[in-house]
């Protein structure tokens, strides 16, 4: 599955590309609270899979059920085709990198890494543990205690301690959450490299959409104990199927409208949005009825002069006023007030030559209708937007 040089000794010992994971109809109830609600999910072997969702959405509980640390109230967990629902954690070929790292404070780094190998009475324990430490570039700290390491180093020890066992499945429970931003970005690339190198199936739980998109081959967006949508990062970003996904992955401008006509032999929908006619490709609409939420990503929108003529290839929303302008270096982010439709976000790339519009400037918004999408009109347009008070 993963293309790697065969001269790498760590790869030769790797179990062939890890195992596939299937979760079928799994629920987990804590008293009255349904943490995971009839969840079904398939993870192909050898892939880097991310389970993305806000805190409290049930993603960690799902992970713990796969690890065997939590029993499902209902449903089946299968690993490489085998039902492991009732198998206790210590008998599952699964290892976890815990959010808190959970390194054993009474053992040195080497013995922490060797812990799993010793339990399985593997041969060459020392050599293999050192090899795993080299993979995370920490072999020189083998005789230190975890308390003597920095957060980033502890995180890498936790990773080595899991990877060294060559599990069929490696679970990562927000392992980068405690690191500062710069280190987190570096570790993301590092994890991706290691996954490619060892070829184990990785299931990564995170609430950071950028992290999920950077690292994973496949992302499942989870909300309130259910999967909202599964797909490749680009696919999820370009073709969100729910308001939650549209807002949680990047930003979206969602405005309510009504489908009033079908154009171009059924390929394009004409949508009336507060008196303006917009076009949405029929293939990019998941709405069942005529009521829709039309969405356009902020970077797809161009700001033009209030009365500027735009070709028919573009849709235009007029009557906007810039209310906020933030220059971020690579781009300028605008908030544009468009009356009854509320506020629309626009990212203008700082490619040079484009003037910066100060707040108060009257503008029109233009975009290529091919990038517009339509969601079910019954959805809450603000679902999945990041509430600053909610984030940990």
């Amino acid at each position: 599955m993963t293309a790697v040089g065969t001269d790498d000794p760590t790869v030769e010992r790797a179990t062939a590309a890890g195992a596939a994971l299937e979760i079928e109809g799994v629920s987990r109830r804590f008293g009255d609270f349904l943490a995971v609600d009839d969840l079904t999910l398939a993870v192909a072997s050898g892939t880097f899979f991310a389970l993305l969702g806000p805190s409290g959405c049930g993603k960690t509980t799902t992970l713990r059920m796969v690890a065997g640390l939590e029993r499902p109230s209902a449903g089946t967990v299968r690993l490489a085709g085998q039902d492991v629902t009732g198998v206790p954690a210590h008998r599952r070929p699964v290892n976890t990198v815990f959010q808190s790292y959970a390194l054993f404070p009474h053992l040195d780094v080497l013995e922490n890494v060797a812990f799993g190998l010793r339990r399985r009475r593997t041969r060459d324990v020392r050599a293999r543990a050192l090899e795993a430490l080299e993979l995370v570039e920490l072999a020189h700290l083998a005789d230190r205690r975890p308390a003597q390491l920095s957060g980033g180093q502890q995180q890498r020890v936790a990773l080595a301690r899991a990877v060294v066992n060559r599990p069929a499945l490696l679970l990562l429970d927000e392992p980068l959450g405690a690191l500062d931003l710069k280190l987190r970005r570096r570790m993301q690339l590092e994890l991706k490299r290691i996954q490619a190198e060892v070829g184990i199936t990785f299931v990564h739980v995170t609430h950071d959409q950028e992290e999920a998109m950077t690292m994973a081959d496949t992302v499942a967006v989870m909300n309130r104990g259910r999967i909202e949508q599964v797909g490749a990062p680009a696919d999820l970003y370009e073709h969100p199927r729910t308001a939650f996904v549209a807002n949680f992955l990047g930003q979206s401008n969602l405005v309510p409208g009504t489908v009033v006509e079908v154009l171009d032999g059924g390929r394009v929908l004409g949508v009336d949005v507060a008196g303006t006619r917009l076009r949405v490709p029929a293939a990019r609409s998941v709405a069942a009825g005529p009521r829709v939420l039309v969405g356009v990503r902020p970077e797809k929108i161009r700001l033009v002069g209030a009365d500027e003529q735009v070709g028919t290839a573009h849709d235009v929303l007029r009557g906007g006023t810039v209310v906020d302008t933030s220059f971020t270096g690579v781009s300028t982010q605008y908030q544009v007030d468009v009356g009854a439709l509320g506020t629309v976000g626009v990212f203008a790339q700082n490619a040079g030559g484009t003037p910066v519009h100060p707040p108060g400037t009257p503008v029109a918004l233009a975009w290529d209708p091919d990038f517009a999408f339509a969601l079910d009109g019954d959805e809450e347009p603000a679902a999945g937007t990041v509430d600053l008070d909610d984030e940990p």
Binding site: A67, G68, L69, P88, A89, H90, R91, V94, N95, T96, F98, S100, A102, L103, F104, P105, H106, F115, G116, R119, R120, R145, R161, N165
Partner: protein, 303 residues
Amino acid sequence: MLRRSRAGTALAGQPPAPAGGRGARRLLVPGVLYLGVFFVLPVGTLLATSLYAPVPGGELGQYTPALRWQNYPEALGAFWPQLVRSFAFAGAATVVALVVGYPMAYVIAVRARGRRTLQGLLVVLVVAPFFTSFILRTIAWKQILADGGAVVGALRWLHVLPPDGRVSATSAAVVVGLTYSFLPFMVLPLFAALERLDPRLLEAGADLYAAPATTFRRVTLPLSMPGVVAGTLLTFIPAVGDYVNSSLLGNSTTTVMIGQVVDARFFRLLDYPTAAVLSVVLMVTILVLVTAYVRRAGTEDLV
């Protein structure tokens, strides 16, 4: 000048000393005085007494300061069985208390975690026996283990004891009494150690292929070692010198512990040098054993 610069270098490599060193030292005065008057001085007197010689032709209990080293071999020759028995009984009681006390401490510290009321109640129950007199409790055990009592009846019925077997006045009764008396000293330090145990480490153990028993042996037990060491010491040391349990629950020949001997020598036979010798030997032996034990347990780098 030179001394000052040396002090400066020494300080540079160390954490800064807390401010107000002189004030802190003044606070130590009561403690030092207390220990000096009530510990160092008596130990000195004890050592001196252990070498006293009887006054020639004097009455019972009349001794004169001397360096009579024979006191030691004489006392040890006469009372080594009681000395050995004391360590054996205390050792057995410590082991039983650890086996009984560890699960108690674990339940209170780990299983009852987060339920403050239950946890508080259980700790109070552990300490509750202290609310009544030590002597009363031991006499109660005498009743419990008496020949006609329920315990003996049950043991006979289970054929653990022969039909005419008894528990009172046996070594077992003394060990049971010692275990009971010092159990709270075992449970409380274990509770303190286990309360700090991070349950996520147990999950990590299970995740890394360790069965529950292995996780206990490789993670829980090593992490609670400071509590085990403190608990066993707090049980063992007072148990070695105890003489209430052996005199109330034992008989006069096969269960005599060294504390009883010291008591009898000192108060009834007025044989002060022998009582002092036995006390010194007891103290030194405990000191040596405890030092070896703490070294062996290797808990320095855990705390």
